[in-house]
Amino acid sequence: MVGTIFLVIALAFSVMALVMYYLSFKGYKNTLNYARISYHGMVMFIIAASTLLWYALLNHQYQYNYVFSYSNNSLDTGFLLASFWGGQEGSFMLWLLISAIIGVILQSYTSKRKELEPQVMAVFTLATTFLLVMVSPWFKNPFEFIWATPLFLDISSINPLYLELPFLQPFFFTDNSSGAGFIQMNSELHGLLAGSGISVNEFISDGRGLNPQLLNFWMQIHPPILFTGFSMATVPFAFALGALMKNDYKEWVRQAFPWLLAGMGILGLGIMLGGYWAYEMLGWGGYWAWDPVENSSLIPWIVGLAGIHTLLVQRKSQLKGGFGKFARTNLILCILTYVLVLYSTFLTRSGVLGDASVHSFVDPGNIVYFFLLLFTGTFLILGLGAIVYRWKWLTDNTQTEVGLLSRELALFTAAVVLLASGLIILVGTSAPIFGQSVETFFYNEMILPIAIIIGLLNGLSLMMKWRNTKTKDLLKKSLPSLGIAFLISVLIVVLGSIDEILIMLLVFSMLFSLVVNGEIAFKIIKGNKKMLGAYVAHIGIALFILGVIGSSVNSQQVDVDLIKNETVSAFGYEMTFTSWKPIDNNTKYSFNIDVKSGDSEYQVNPVMYVSDFNNSLMRIPAILTLPTQDFYITPLGYDEGKNSFVSQRESVVLEKGDRIDFNGMYIAFTKFHLNEGVMEAMQEGRDFQMGAILIIEKDGKVEEIELLRKQISGKVEFTSFASEELDIKIKLVKLTAVNVEIALSRMVNEIEGEIAQTQEILYISASIKPFISFVWIGVVVMVVGFFISVMRRLRDSLSK
């Protein structure tokens, strides 16, 4: 209750700050202080509400629906803190909290720099207002009580002390198919409990817990970083819209620059941490699947990158007076970056991606759908509307002349090429809205040539001078780098046996970029280190893409059955499954595989367990990281004889006349067999039986059998047929008016199964990922590059 009130007060403060900042922008003199007080008031209440939510999670206050749904008693402190963003409500809350704190920094930042604060903060508080409405009691409030909307609670989560309460009986329900018992929690039950002096928190003793797929170290890190990137994307938008409001396009560029760089650096890191999580834990076997959820956060990142390149041109050309080149482009790109962050939220939270994504999303209801649409639409219309409004003035006052072989044009082309790749991903990712979908080769084929262009362009542009370059000079300068890149490419293509021409070109293009950036970085490392940023970031991206090529082009995968203590080899690795042991209080099973590669011996431990959360088998891969490649083992199943994880039974549905193959036999369902009077017996509820006639044909010999469905005093029984000679066992599972379902197995199987008890088998999928470490190293190097640039631009933003 208190939490909800805090959020409502914060919302009031946010609206107040928005109004006051707007009035200050309009020229009122005494409103700025009120605006600042309101903003800081809002931040305090948001922090207080977040603290309350964390407190409720740490203390297992299951009277809150959110706490019940996303945490339980067995989570350790780290995961309890992380369950804050385990669900939809909390992740909006996290976004809000980070935004609020970033706003504090932004307020202090803008107040120290030339009359930027009112308009920038007005736009920023509009964003916090929308987020606050999202977590308000009318939408996705994390402080909603558990009885607010009727919910079925599993019996096991109820304190057994209270199960005998007489007034509880009408709230018991049983699931017919699984036999599980539930209690319906609603306001009526809450009233009854309160009447008997029992608090809901005592009544519910355990929560549902966090989805096992989220129980990973990165759950504690990836979402906050991603949301920091999202929140920081608001800032360049606020600067751009503020500039349009003031009709002043000079100052905002250098002020927004460090924010855009830092925001994109963090967003890029967040996206790839998600990829690393998927690689390490989810067993997709890769780090990127062109999944709409991944794509949707990649799009704003790419647009932001394009913005960085054109912002650079505007800043550089400003030094010659005026507000510089590409003013309109920069406004549009900074606005689009944030609008695309919102669009990404719309795609992933509104339920429109439904069937398209590996992640699935419960439809949050129409009202949230339309609110998200309104949120995105408002910022799109405000941003683009302002640009349209100022378009004529901007066109009349922008410098346009740009030399053909100038670095300006090269940077602009880089932005255009990046935008093209952003558009491709946007089209593919949005397709599910219209009931369409694209296969991943759409992305791969489209992005590949673009990546080649990007690498070549990057290398060439760095050798071009600002304003204009002589063609001859450019050729002379680029020849050595082209030569070195070519030689290394040939080496890689031959050694890596790459046979696709486009991949060869990509290798060459990335090496060219790597050589040029490396050379420049090497030259300036002794001198002005703060200039290093761009080159380091480019080196990072080139390494990253080389890692992508290495790990995907030469990746190989094979399924292997590891019989205990028998050595099997794959890709030059000799694997021996030696033992397994229970871990984590006997809840999980860790399998020990000895891996031998050449003279080195290693041990890897894939893990499998059945999760209580969703009653399913979770498989955690084991990765052996070696200098040149990763050896990746995903457990598939384990057979210890009787209690195997993997079911052997095969059941089939047959309609009249259907024929199937089984173990060298034909089995056909020819007809139903109904005695006279069956219909009457059925209607009168007397005992009756129905038969299904099957034919088994082996080596020309035909045998006819009948399987029965018997109804004896209300109970249903099915008969089965077994034959040692034919080595088959058929059991009737279901008989309806139109078809029958039978389960088939071999007789020998059962005998074998007994013997096989001592022969334990671990089923795994093994794959190699050459040079995947370049992917991670590349990302780290790139992020370092971003932050070197941030430092430089931060200094620039403070220059007089």
């Binding site: 992740s91 989805n211 590996v358 699935s360 009931g435 979908s437 080769f441 759409f442 095969e650």
Partner: protein, 129 residues
């Protein structure tokens, strides 16, 4: 000046042309009605749910993975996937398979299991109560 725009437009048209072409090439329709799936010979993404009662079968010799899917209207179809069991298959609330229906069963080249994610609240099945 004029040339610049002509050149620019030319590039854009070529780019969009290639994109639209590839889009139509890689485009796959979603289909949640299995009678449609069985009647078309195009590659589709069939969406439905796994028939848990019928279990699944993992043929270790032929490396195939077989299970049954049912659509909202109760139409069942057998699905055979060349490969091993997809991770988190048992968790799946619904399954999306990509492929074709030929010779009495669905040949899946890709299985996508929709598992509860961090943004999702896995509801207890209330419908059967």
């Amino acid at each position: 000046m004029k040339n610049k725009y002509i050149f620019g437009s030319f590039i854009i048209v070529v780019f969009l042309g290639i994109m639209i072409y590839l889009f139509t090439q890689s485009n796959i329709q979603y289909q949640d009605d299995f009678t449609e799936v069985m009647n078309t010979n195009k590659t589709v993404k069939a969406t439905g749910s796994w028939v848990k009662e019928k279990n699944y079968h993992h043929d270790k010799v032929n490396k195939t993975f077989t299970f049954y899917m049912v659509d909202d209207n109760g139409n069942e179809m057998k699905v055979v996937y060349k490969g091993s069991i997809p991770n988190n298959f048992e968790t799946a609330q619904s399954v999306v398979v990509t492929g074709k229906y030929v010779n009495g069963y669905f040949h899946a080249k890709d299985i996508l299991t929709k598992c509860p994610s961090k943004y999702e609240d896995e509801q207890i099945r209330t419908s059967t109560l």
